[in-house]
Structures are given as C-alpha cells and as structure tokens.
C-alpha cells in the first residue's frame, strides 16, 4: 500500500549460536542486533529549544529580527543508515516531527538494527518526487498536512510559525515549505537530501539528530522576515531560499 520502493537490503546475518550443555562451553555472545533510538532535538545555535519555549522565548536571527516560535513541525522520509561498504538500512518510510507539547513527536525507535559501524545517516527533508503523492498517506491527511494541489499537491515539508518584531506590534510569519510553484501548473521539486555523520551502533544506541533552527535564517541567505514572512507557500523565491538554507540545519549530535 505504501508506495515506497523496497529497499534492497542484504544483511548477511550468520548467527551461529551453539550451546552445548554437556561441555558447558559458552560461545562469546556477540550481539548482532540492537535497538536504536533517533531523537530529533532542536537548538537555536547551542541553546536547546523545546515547546516550553514556544511563544515566550525570543530569538534574534541573523538579520537581527527578534522572533518567537509557536509551531515547528516537519516531515522527514527514508531515514537510512549507511555502511562504508555501501550497504544501507532504511529505518523508516516517513516521520512527522512535531515539537508541540502534549502530542510531541520527536523520537523514532527501531529494533533489529545490526550493530556495527555506520559511516553516515541520510534522510530526505520532505518527500522526494516519487513519495510525494497527493493524498496517499492517511495519517498525514488526518493531520491536515497536505500541500494544496494548486501549488503542486502532495504534502507540506515544514510548518514553522511564530511572530517577529517588537512586542505589541508583532507580525506573524508562516515559514511553510513544500513543492515550489514556478508559475500556474508548473512546479519544481523542493525536497533536499540530508547526509550527516555516522556512528557506532551497539546493542542499545541513542542518537541525536540536531536541527539548528537559526540556520533556516542564516546560511547562505540572511533571511529578512520583513520581506519573507507570509504568504510564502506561493512564493517561488522564498521556497528556493528555504531549500538552500535548510541544507545546513541538521547535524549529528550526541550518541550514547
């Protein structure tokens, strides 16, 4: 039903567990399978951000605008671990990260992951063209995560909202990302692939993927909220700038 391509994964697990009670020998218990927890954590520079910071904590962006955050929700897909020898293991198809309080969704746990040294972690920010199918995912539809058909359809990649400016005269911003509309009925793919450092996978490993939120406003384009605040979904230039700035927001954090 889910039209993701089946990952070609050849895992040669030769698990020879010999146990001879009579001789009472114990084969060295090499654990070949572990459980990984991937936590998506969010920072402004080095400062960790949670939903407790929503609406109240102010941040100064690269353009020296003061802003608050009230929503940060984004889609990642095809989260994959890679080995130096070219083998890869897809951990999941897609995941909607949401920082909001009670319903926060920031952690993926996958069991049955072969232990060992993974050279890199990759995922797609949003959906790639093959996966970004209009209306195809019931859970995302239920979350009203759709991207309007007039803008190319499929799904939002991110909804990042808040206010900027001086208290009392703030303006809203809605940094919403998805497929870019070049002109009427002409669309351009706007996802990007992320590759970050790998780690050594053990029996129980927890890995942090960090998003530095300030990077969305910094690199390479110094984001000016007075130019690009809202509406941005329909703004081709803004969509492309989001794509460029997004490339540097993720990095590998703490691995335990």
């Amino acid at each position: 039903m889910i039209p993701f391509k089946k990952l070609v994964l050849i895992v040669l697990l030769v698990s020879f567990l010999g146990c001879d009670d009579n001789e009472n020998t114990i084969i060295d218990p090499i654990t070949t399978i572990g459980t990984i927890t991937v936590d998506f954590n969010h920072y402004w520079g080095s400062e960790k951000i949670t939903s407790a910071d929503f609406n109240t904590t102010t941040f100064t962006n690269e353009n020296n605008d003061i802003q608050t955050i009230s929503k940060l929700k984004y889609l990642i897909s095809n989260l994959t671990l890679h080995k130096a020898n070219g083998e890869s293991l897809k951990l999941n198809d897609y995941y909607l990260v949401d920082l909001a309080g009670l319903n926060s969704n920031t952690s993926i746990t996958v069991s049955d992951v072969p232990v060992g040294n993974y050279s890199s972690v990759s995922f797609t920010f949003g959906f790639n063209e093959a996966d970004n199918i209009e209306g195809a995912y019931l859970d995302l539809n239920s979350a009203s995560w759709n991207w309007p058909a007039m803008l190319g359809g499929g799904y939002h990649f991110m909804q990042f909202e808040g206010k900027y400016g001086t208290t009392g005269t703030e303006n809203p911003y809605a940094y919403h990302m998805g497929t870019a509309r070049v002109s009427t009925d002409v669309f351009e793919q706007n996802f990007f692939d992320v590759s970050i450092n790998g780690f050594i996978m053990g029996e129980e490993t927890s890995t942090e993927i960090k998003m530095d939120i300030s990077e969305w406003f910094k690199n390479p384009y110094t984001w000016d909220l007075s130019v690009y605040s809202t509406p941005l979904m329909t703004n081709y230039d803004a969509q492309l700038l989001m794509n460029q700035n997004g490339q540097s927001v993720f990095s590998l954090g703490v691995v335990n």
């Binding site: 019931l138 859970d139 759709n146 058909a149 808040g162 809203p172 605040s229």
Partner: protein, 357 residues
Amino acid sequence: MLKRIKIISLIFIFSSCSETGIETYTAYSPTPSPLNIPQIFASTILPPIQSIDNPQTEEGVQLGRKLFFDTILSVDDSQSCASCHSPENAFTDTDRFSEGIDGILGNRNSMPLFNMAWNYDNKFFWDGRSFGLEKQALEPVIDPIEMHNTWSNAVLSLQNDLEYPQLFFDAFGTLVIDSLLVTKAISQFERTLISSNSRFDKHLLGEITLTASELNGFNVFMDETKGDCFHCHGSQNNPLWTDNNFHNNGLDATFLDLGLGIITGDPNDNGKFKSPSLRNLKFTAPFMHDGRFASLDDVINHYSEGLINSLTIDPLMKSVNDGGVQLSATDKIDLKAFLLSLSDDEFINNPDFQAPN
C-alpha cells in the same frame, strides 16, 4: 481494519423477582454494530477512534438514541440532549446561547454533533476539556445551567422507569443502571451520527458536478493568498473539514472567555477554541464559540476584514495587520457557495437520527 467485536454472549442472569414470584432467565447477547465508515473517509483519513470498553451494539445505540431524546435526564423532565442538539440543526440549535431548564443562558454556543469518532485527539467541548465522548456526556446532565440534575437522581428516574432497566440489560447485561452506562449508550448513538453525503462529497465521488461558483470558492478556500482556510479546516484529503485543534482566530483583543487557557492554565492558550467542522453550516448558525456571528456572511467578513490582534492570535491569521485577507466580493460569494456545498441534507433527515417513537 475493523475487527469484529466479539461479544461474550454467555452471560446469563438469573434474577428472581420475589414480589411477583416470576423468575426470568434471560440471555445477554447484544448485536455488534460497528460503525459504517463512509468510502469518502476510508479512502482519505485514519479509521475512527474505537472505544475499547464501549463497543458499538445495536442495543446500545438504540438505548442511547432513546436517552438522547428523553427529557427524563433533566431534573424537571423538561429538557433532553436534543433540546439544544436538534437533528434539523445538525445537532446544535439556533440560539446564540442555549437556555437551560431554569431559563439561564449558557456562555457558549451549542456545538453541532457529527463525525465525532474521527476526533482523533478525543478532546470534546469548545475548550477540549473532556477526554472522550463518554466523559463529555457526563456534564450537561449535572450542569446547573443546563439540565441541573444530579446523576443519582437521573439514575433513579431511569431505574424506576418501566422500560429502561430491560433496555440497559439488553445493551450492557445488567439491570443496575449507573451514570457510566448512560453515557456509554449516549456515546454509542452519537458515534453513529456520521455526515458524509454533502454535495462536495458527491463531487469527490464523481457523482455530481459542482457549479463554477462552488469550484472557485474551493480555490479561494485552498489559496494561501486568498482564504487560506485549509490549514485549520481540512481539504478534499481531510473531509472532516476541521483539524479538531485549538486556535485564536482573531475575534477579540482581550478575552472574556479564556477558552483552552482555562483548561491548560497556560496564558499562551488564552482565547483559543476548537476549530469547528465546516460541514453542515447551512443548519448550524449562529457561528463561533460564542455564537456572535448570525450568518455565514458575517464569518467570511470577519476573516476578510474583521481580524483583531491579540497576544495569542494564531500566526495563520497572517493578514491581521491589514484586518484580514481582503477577499473580493465575488470571492466571498463563491467561498460561501463552496462552504454551503459541505452541508448534508441526508444527514439531518436520516430517519435513524430522529427521535424514537
């Protein structure tokens, strides 16, 4: 997906009635009655929330229907649930604030009732204070400005009734009525109130063609530079036409009613209320949590020119500093036509949803 509910039907009750000397020996075997999931929902959104400890049965639904329309639940036998939640109004009423049994008005507009099993977060009321329909149904009976009853008195009235004890037995296998069983039955009935046959639904199913005005209205609804309604009110891919979430949509600068903020205690939630579904607007005026807008035109004008800034206004009310999204006269007419295409006459006329005889 729908697992057939296995009902343990091997419960026999041996009840002896000493006054009459008649002994009854009745089998408890309710008939499972899973919700009918409309195609338009099955193909777009997740399955409805099933209540683990309150499976739908024919007997439970029929009992709930009888209770819903019965004034027996109010202290003076004058009001039923349907007094403020009438089928002809998609289970709301036409008042800004509904009048309770003592003639006292509430302070919020009665909510319409439909598609409630698809409220995935399971938070009910304008401020989301009740988790689960069964919990919600506990409140109006004992609210002093609504039915003004006590549960012990309501249960006593039901227990002393000629018909109800047997109906509770048929639905739940016990002759002993309590408030939880009452709310379970009412919730079962409410979950059957499914609305999925609007003109727009039929358009999506390819059964009818919408007018040019309705279609343009849908584009206004979906266009971020025009109505931008879809972020909170669903789309063709989420035909609930609500996100069932809580927002401040720019009604007031300060709040007489804190809404979600009362419940969470978080000042950042002040002035937030649940997004209502846009289905059945033809029947559900007046609008907003406090029923301040008498007509759909008033609502559209609010988003177009009437937005008021406040500390907790949703950033999606993006044009607040211009007063709103500034729709053209034509776009307003078309948007209204589209919105009305979400109304479902078959729903309000469904014989299963009317008062039982």
